[in-house]
């Protein structure tokens, strides 16, 4: 805390604040503006980016902070008690509570069991680096859960009732089932097939890698060949079959269409057929998710209402029951019908000629 700083640190902090107020070319960390056009966060971050100066608990990464909506609001919107004499006044820059703005979420969270044991939002969400769900790699969202619920315990508890539990946990967000979302979105990521570490977990390709593959900042053109910002099933199929993409593959994650901080499990989540027999109706929306230069992700719609068709061209994802292919079904029925030729055809003539086999 600031109260514990040695005098020399306080002097250094004041000096840094003063220095930050003097415009100096090249000092403003080109590439980001600390999140606000007016640069009103600059004076705060000039100290709070420095762990040595403010301590780890008060350190804020300008790079992470600049992407947040909170940065756009400015530090003083939440830290409304901070005085002009901070930190020399020795007072803590108290903050408003999250629920002052996020009333709906606070209301949902209040009925969750989590609210009893973890009442503080910042235990899961660092307000200085929080992202919208869509800006984060879907499975990274699970890291918030695994901070408390260890992966071993999650794996063990799901394995007690869920067949192929590891496959489910590797392809579905925790919140896909642990919220009452009625619909799902299939999020498709371009992933690297690391040939050198066969058998290990594969990773979503980052911006730099895809940029080198595309030879351009426009990495979307790796999939969106006609560059209409809309992904057709044909474009997904072409991506899979393009020999230049041998080191890449499409990885699909089932994400919820809507989330709730009530974290209640819908009754239908216990019923396998709510996904496996739902057919195309439950998953009408799918999207290609591509990394951005700043480490977040952008979305591009995949052909509407074609999630199941999209699944059929994603080699790493198969949803039993729902993913069944109609043409393949017809082929299967044809094969089985072939098996009936002998019983029916031969049996017919056998019946007609039964007198020939009667024994005297």
């Amino acid at each position: 805390m600031h109260k514990q700083h040695l005098p020399i640190q306080q002097l250094a902090a004041i000096a840094a604040v003063v220095a930050s107020l003097i415009p100096q070319p090249g000092q403003a960390d080109p590439g980001y503006s600390f999140g606000d056009g007016a640069q009103k966060n600059r004076s705060c971050l000039s100290c709070h980016k420095d762990k040595e100066l403010v301590g780890a608990a008060n350190q804020i990464s300008p790079k992470a902070f600049q992407h947040t909506t909170h940065a756009q609001l400015g530090c003083k919107t939440c830290h409304n008690t901070v005085s002009d004499k901070h930190p020399s006044d020795g007072k803590i820059a108290r903050t408003t509570t999250c629920s002052d703005c996020h009333t709906d979420i606070a209301s949902q969270y209040s009925i969750s069991k989590h609210s009893l044991s973890v009442p503080d939002c910042s235990a899961c969400h660092n307000p200085h680096s929080v992202h919208k769900p869509g800006e984060v790699y879907a499975l990274d969202l699970n890291k918030t859960c695994t901070t408390c619920h260890t992966q071993d315990k999650i794996a063990a508890s799901h394995a007690q009732w869920l067949p192929q539990s590891n496959l489910h946990l590797g392809s579905i967000n925790c919140i896909t089932c642990h919220t009452k979302s009625d619909a799902f979105v299939l999020s498709v990521y371009v992933s690297r097939r690391d040939q050198k570490t066969t058998g290990s977990a594969t990773t979503v390709a980052d911006y730099a890698y895809l940029k080198s593959k595309a030879n351009s900042d426009n990495i979307a053109k790796l999939v969106d060949r006609n560059q209409d910002s809309y992904i057709s099933i044909e474009e997904l199929r072409n991506f899979n079959t393009n020999p230049l993409n041998k080191d890449l593959y499409l990885k699909a994650i089932l994400t919820p269409a809507a989330t709730s901080h009530a974290f209640q499990i819908s009754d239908k989540s216990w019923n396998c057929t709510s996904c496996h027999a739902a057919g195309p109706d439950a998953a009408q929306v799918s999207r290609l998710v591509l990394p951005k230069q700043d480490g977040t992700f952008q979305h591009m719609d995949i052909e509407k209402g074609a999630s199941i068709a999209a699944l059929n061209v994603i080699p790493d994802f198969y949803m039993m029951g729902s993913s069944r292919n109609t043409i393949l079904n017809m082929l299967g029925i044809g094969i089985l019908a072939g098996g009936m030729v002998m019983p029916v055809g031969h049996g017919f003539f056998r019946f007609l000629t039964r007198k020939n086999r009667r024994k005297e």
């Binding site: 067949p163 396998c272 057929t273 059929n312």
Partner: protein, 221 residues
């Protein structure tokens, strides 16, 4: 009528056959529910169907291994019983087909009579060769791969992905299902509809006396 009983199906073979039959029928029924859960729920919940299918699949895969081990290394008759000889392919196959599709209807005698050392006619040999050496091993292997997607993920992706694996498993299973229907039907073509079923249950087959030199284990009048 004077008839002889020959001990055609030893106990291990019968155990294997009926275990296999139970397993494959279970696999077919649970497999249909797994693929068409919106229409079929005969095995209970989807989870039950999956667990039943996985269990039956492992039983059939072990049963197949038992069959192979028994015939290859215990009885040593694997090649003799299951692999058709050149003469059987060039001559016996046509003769057998001619019987099934013409002679049988005319009331002619079957050209082939099973013995413990030569159980299958050339048509059966050819069919079983394909079923037991190609279809069953591959449907088992693709099923085992589907049970182990995590560890095999990279290999499966290199081979075309899960979609290809499921397609192969499904097509092979359909071929096995088609064979099963023909298999059961052909088993009714004995002197009576159940004549070929009995030896697979009791081990003993009642045959009419054709040659004095036949190896007899028991006779009945």
């Amino acid at each position: 009528m004077h008839a002889k009983l020959i001990y055609l199906q030893p106990t291990p073979v019968r155990i294997w056959h009926w275990l296999n039959a139970l397993g494959i029928v279970t696999l077919i029924i649970s497999g249909i529910q797994i693929r068409f859960p919106d229409y079929v729920s005969i095995c209970g919940s989807y989870r039950d169907a999956i667990l039943l299918h996985n269990t039956a699949g492992i039983v059939v895969a072990l049963s197949f291994s038992f069959w192979f081990f028994y015939y290859k290394w215990v009885s040593g008759a694997l090649t003799n019983i299951y692999v058709p000889k050149m003469d059987e392919l060039s001559n016996g196959l046509i003769k057998q087909m001619f019987f099934y599709f013409y002679g049988y209807f005319k009331g002619a005698a079957a050209p082939f009579h099973a013995t413990p050392d030569s159980k299958f006619n050339p048509m059966q040999k050819s069919a079983y060769l394909a079923i037991m050496f190609v279809i069953v091993p591959f449907v088992s292997l693709t099923g085992i791969a589907l049970l182990n997607i995590g560890p095999l993920r990279q290999i499966l992706l290199m081979l075309g992905g899960l979609q290809i694996l499921v397609t192969l498993h499904f097509i092979l299973a359909c071929i096995l299902g088609a064979f099963l229907m023909t298999h059961v039907y052909l088993a009714t073509l004995g002197s009576t509809p159940l004549a070929y079923f009995k030896p697979m249950w009791t081990g003993w087959e009642k045959v009419e006396h054709h040659h004095e030199g036949d190896e007899l284990h028991s006779t009945v009048d």
